[in-house]
């Protein structure tokens, strides 16, 4: 009984609270928008044909006019312009792009003295822990170019649906950026939204809205933002590993050297000794037809008729996927193979070997 009364009491208070403060809640959102808007710019560049928008959004990341946005054809012009929140218009020049993060840094190009622009402190923000699924967020962008000159950005409300990798979902979302993203349940996947801000409800920047991305297999669009803390490992020439991060791009500015993936090295030559069934239809499951005698596959205990299901935890839905992933594995690497044998999954360990010399 006591509990019940508590509940009624709380419910009443809650109601009162909601009624009394709903106006103020809106007020607080308005305050947040007021804080965030001056740090955003509307970007204008090339495009306007073949469905490409000639406009986008950007984040001011320094008091002297460096602006962070996403890589897009829009930037591919000498006549890149931004409109600040107070209506001032400037030309911009490209500073650098980081292909692995899909971001670009541009700078306001003016003889005017600029040193007091409100900005996002990327270095500090990049150190924060990512927020988890369910967190309420706001998305600010100039989607559909609704805002012009000094008009504030469009604000959307939503939640973080997931903090997850897109690329891990093989075949679902093919994005340049391979790290974790915030997927949100607000529809941010719109022309011009790319480069906009994803913030917490209190206006703290957590991500930069990614450019429009479509799942080619199902024609579904995804609403996502690249986290400000984004950092990914790139393998450059001579197998050198390097971490690239948004913070580094923003800190180094002109001195930043974009990563250069060694395209030649992405295809590995190796030998495993697994012969799969012929890949004739588009979705042939990777059944083992034959295991070469004395091969790494035989040593691993692989048998004909095994169905390869996972390699190092990544699902292998078809032969194409098998070939793709085996093409990235260096000789000498030990991989975990999970195979379906009968109705059970078995884990085998296979050490990929050097390619065999061709017999002369």
């Amino acid at each position: 009984m006591i509990r019940q009364r508590w509940m009624v009491c709380s419910a009443v208070m809650l109601l009162a609270c909601i009624t009394a403060s709903s106006a103020r809640a809106d007020g607080s959102l308005a305050q947040v928008a007021q804080q965030v808007n001056p740090k955003l710019v509307k970007v204008f560049g090339s495009g306007g044909f073949r469905g490409l928008a000639s406009y986008g959004t950007g984040l001011i990341v320094s008091p002297d006019g460096y602006i962070l946005t996403v890589v897009s054809p829009l930037l591919d012009t000498r006549d890149l312009r931004v409109h600040l929140s107070d209506g001032r218009r400037y030309h911009c020049k490209m500073i650098c792009m980081e292909p692995e993060l899909d971001i670009a840094l541009v700078k306001i190009d003016t003889k005017e003295k600029l040193d007091d622009l409100p900005y996002f402190d990327i270095s500090a923000l990049a150190k924060k822990q990512p927020v988890d699924a369910g967190t309420g967020v706001l998305a600010f962008s100039n989607q559909f170019q609704i805002a012009t000159r000094d008009e504030p950005m469009s604000v959307q409300r939503g939640r973080v649906a997931a903090y997850a990798k897109l690329q891990a979902r093989r075949g679902i979302f093919a994005a340049a950026y391979k790290g974790n993203v915030y997927v949100v349940d607000a529809i941010t996947n719109n022309p011009g939204a790319g480069g906009g801000a994803l913030t917490t409800r209190s206006g703290e920047l957590i991500g930069i809205i990614g450019k429009e991305l479509q799942n080619e297999a199902t024609n579904t669009w995804i609403n996502y933002a690249i986290p400000i803390s984004a950092a990914v490992e790139v393998i450059e020439a001579e197998n050198k590993k390097r971490m690239v991060s948004i913070a580094e791009v923003v800190e180094k500015k002109e001195k930043y050297a974009p990563s250069r993936k060694d395209e030649l090295k992405t295809k590995e030559e190796n030998y495993h000794g697994i012969v799969l069934v012929p890949d004739v239809v588009e979705f042939t499951p990777p059944y083992v037809e034959e295991v070469r005698p004395g091969s790494p596959a035989e040593k691993a205990g692989l048998l004909p008729d095994d169905l390869i299901v996972y390699i190092d935890g990544e699902q292998i839905p078809n032969i194409k996927a098998f070939k793709e992933i085996m093409g990235t594995i260096r000789p000498g690497t030990k991989i975990a193979l999970e195979v379906r044998r009968g109705d059970k999954l078995q884990t085998l360990s296979l050490t990929v070997a050097e390619p065999r010399k061709k017999p002369r």
Binding site: M13, G134, R169, V183, T218, N219, V280, L307, P317
Partner: protein, 705 residues
């Protein structure tokens, strides 16, 4: 509906107190509370939400459930290969999920469960085809079963969470979430909850929960439309999403566990009039051997109540029937001759027809403005042959064997319609004017079911070549005739290979019209749906060169839409395919009885889909190297659909094709099934030209009856 749960009470109180002290902050704290509640709910439901991965299967477009009158429209897209979501429904290893997730008939299914490092092989136990749900079994015990929210407690406006695994597949972490409200209950003919949370392939099969982590339903793509091309999936992330109430699922779980697919319960009546909403539901026809016939329903009966609920129009009848499965018993109150009558325990039938298409055994002469039907060909060993009908005879009247009330036969389509609703073994009487005579005679014919045969040879003459001279015959409409006439006066109708764009200018298609095209002859329209990537210029030329002789000799026009991207067809392109077909039908003389969807590979899957989804248009489906869907829609007597299924002997999907064609036959569709000896996954070539010729004859004989 906000349940102030005990665990929340202190939080709520804190919020309230804060509200009094610092109102602005309180608003934020309320939001914080809400956010915490959501995260807690997620954690709570998380262990019951599993990740499902699949291997193999066709890269496919799928047909929805056997349910042409509304009900879960079904999935039909090119499926991605990412993981999907399922919900544990019983502790001993049963998982329910959206049938969408197995749309491509995968060869293996793997399920990850929270707290288990091992992944389990999942077996499909049964599918609820009315609600697009599939039950899986994994060999694990003591799984956490979520609490179901009773349907009576579900309120429009209450906050809900749509939960999925595609974006958060690690089962020891909370799943992905989208927040929304319940927008409506009792949607999709009474079967589904509607929500404005973002529902998409990333959470199909996952739960829709409340703020306490209790489960309201399971997310599915669904559409209330009759045979819409854009059912369900097209609404992903749109703010219109659906979930099947978990309470309903739990109720049928014992039946699903027995391993039998659940299908829609069919009463077996059609209604008079086309208006579903405006008029009282008066029975138009009663299907032979249906629940309605067995009960004794008759044409003209007005349905007043179903299961004690008053029904004022046909839509309400569908709504009441919509939730029922085959075998369910219902109560119907009708009005007949001003008196009310109640039928108790009416056991609903299934979608599988009791018998196949009706067979007289003739081909009609086409484009004939004279009244009656001239016989072009008599099938060997057919009822027509037994009745000694001859080529050149003209059928003028038809009626039941008993009595003398024969109905005049105006045209081919007229006769076909009159025969369609008869039963096999029924005796009918025909009035026939024998060839070269003036005086009519009557013959009695015992109808049978249509066998699957293609004549080895057909009489070349198939048309009276007076297609534009119509007298009192309904098709094609007059407007089009005029258009054709006018065109002819103005300029020559374009023939040969014609490249075109659709109205929206975003899709290409081509037409091939034989150079000797004659608008007085009705042509068959073959809609070619190319396999993945085979839509280059040289591919089109190759196909046209394969077909051009037949196009001219057998009066065929080809139309070839191009898929938008090289990865293949997607469902939304069906609209465009239809647009291309309609262009051909509006500008050329097309025989509506011989419109064929023909495709290979993924294009073949689309052809099958097109056949089932565009019943008013497509009369034949011919595929090479494509797996027919496992769940065909039920046969519609007045909209016959026939299949010509071809596979290579060495095509790895041969077994699946074989199983699919057998399923079509089980649903009483006439199916020709041909296996090309020594061939793999490929189109007709020189060795298999006999089968291509057979296909051409099959197309030529699609108007047989």
């Amino acid at each position: 509906m906000w349940h102030a749960r005990s665990w929340m009470t202190p939080l709520v109180l804190t919020a309230a107190l804060l509200a009094l002290a610092t109102p602005t902050r309180a608003a934020d704290d309320l939001e914080t509370l809400r956010e915490q509640a959501i995260k807690t709910a997620l954690k709570k439901v998380s262990p019951s939400v599993v990740t499902i991965e699949t291997s193999g299967g066709t890269d496919i477009i799928v047909v929805g459930p056997a349910n042409p009158r509304g009900g879960g429209g079904g999935a039909k897209i090119r499926k991605g290969t990412g993981p999907t979501t399922g919900l544990i429904v019983s502790a001993d290893g049963y998982v329910i999920t959206s049938a969408f997730n197995f749309a491509n008939n995968p060869s293996s299914i793997f399920v990850s469960v929270a707290g288990h490092t091992q992944k389990y092989v999942g077996k499909v136990i049964a599918t609820d085809q009315t609600r697009m749900l599939t039950l899986l079994k994994i060999e694990v015990k003591d799984l956490p079963v979520p609490t179901a929210v009773p349907k009576k407690d579900i309120r429009v406006g209450q906050t809900v969470l749509a939960v999925g695994r595609t974006l958060a597949q690690a089962v020891d972490h909370p799943p992905s979430v989208s927040e929304g409200i319940i927008s409506a209950v009792g949607r999709i003919w009474g079967k589904a909850l509607q929500t404005d949370a973002k529902i998409s392939p990333t959470n199909y099969g996952g739960p829709l929960t409340d703020l306490e982590g209790k489960v309201l339903g399971v997310l599915v793509p669904a559409s209330p439309r009759t045979e819409g091309q854009t059912a369900g999936f097209e609404w992903y992330d749109s703010g219109i999403g659906f979930a099947i109430p978990l309470e309903d699922i739990n109720q049928v779980l014992p039946r699903l566990k027995q391993g039998k697919d659940l299908t829609r319960g069919v009463l077996g009546v059609t209604m008079q009039g086309a208006d579903q909403f405006g008029t009282a539901p008066v029975v138009g026809t009663v299907a032979a051997a249906s629940a309605a016939e067995q009960t004794g329903l008759k044409a003209g009966d007005i349905i007043k109540e179903i299961n004690g609920k008053a029904v004022l129009n046909y839509a309400q009848v569908l709504h009441q029937l919509g939730t029922h499965y085959e075998g369910d018993a219902i109560t119907i109150k009708i009005e007949r001759g001003g008196k009310e009558q109640v039928f108790n325990n009416v056991k609903l039938g299934g979608a599988v027809a009791a018998f196949g298409q009706i067979y007289l055994g003739i081909l009609p002469m086409r484009d004939d403005p004279e009244p009656g039907v001239e016989i072009r060909y008599v099938y060997p060993k057919s009822p027509a042959e037994t009745a000694k009908l001859q080529i050149g005879d003209r059928i003028t009247k038809v009626g039941p064997a008993q009595g003398n009330n024969l109905i005049e036969v105006k045209s081919r389509d007229d006769l076909s319609r009159l025969l369609a609703t008869a039963r096999p073994n029924a005796q009918i009487k025909l009035e026939v004017i024998p060839k070269g005579e003036k005086k009519a005679k009557t013959v009695t014919v015992a109808l049978t079911e249509m066998p699957e045969t293609v004549p080895a040879e057909l009489p070349e003459k198939s048309s009276k070549e007076k297609a534009l001279t119509r007298k009192g015959t309904p098709a094609p409409p007059k407007k089009e005739d005029k258009k054709d006439d006018k065109k002819e006066d103005e300029k020559k109708i374009p023939t040969g290979l014609i490249n075109r764009m659709n109205a929206a200018q975003d899709h290409k298609y081509w037409l091939y019209v034989p150079d000797d095209y004659n608008p007085e002859i009705s042509y068959s329209l073959v809609i070619w749906l190319h396999p993945v990537g085979k839509n280059r210029e040289k591919d089109v030329k190759q196909l046209v060169s394969d077909w051009e002789d037949y196009c001219s000799k057998n009066h065929i026009i080809l139309v070839g839409p191009n898929s938008e991207n090289d990865a293949g067809w997607i469902a939304s392109e069906v609209e465009f395919v239809l647009e291309a077909a309609k262009f051909a039908m509006e500008n050329y003389t097309i025989d509506r009885r011989r419109v064929v969807a023909h495709g290979m590979g993924l294009g073949g899957q689309l052809a099958i889909y097109l056949g089932f989804s565009s019943r008013d248009l497509v009369r034949g489906v011919a595929t090479v190297g494509a797996v027919p869907n496992q769940n065909p829609k039920e046969r519609v007597p007045t909209q016959p659909l026939r299949f010509f299924i071809v596979t290579g002997e060495k095509d790895p999907i041969k077994e699946a094709v074989n199983a699919g064609q057998a399923k079509l036959a089980e649903y009483k569709y006439p199916v020709i099934y041909r296996v090309l000896k020594e061939k793999g996954h490929q189109y007709f070539d020189e060795d298999s030209i006999a089968t291509l010729k057979e296909l051409v004859r099959w197309i030529d004989s699609l108007d047989r009856m």
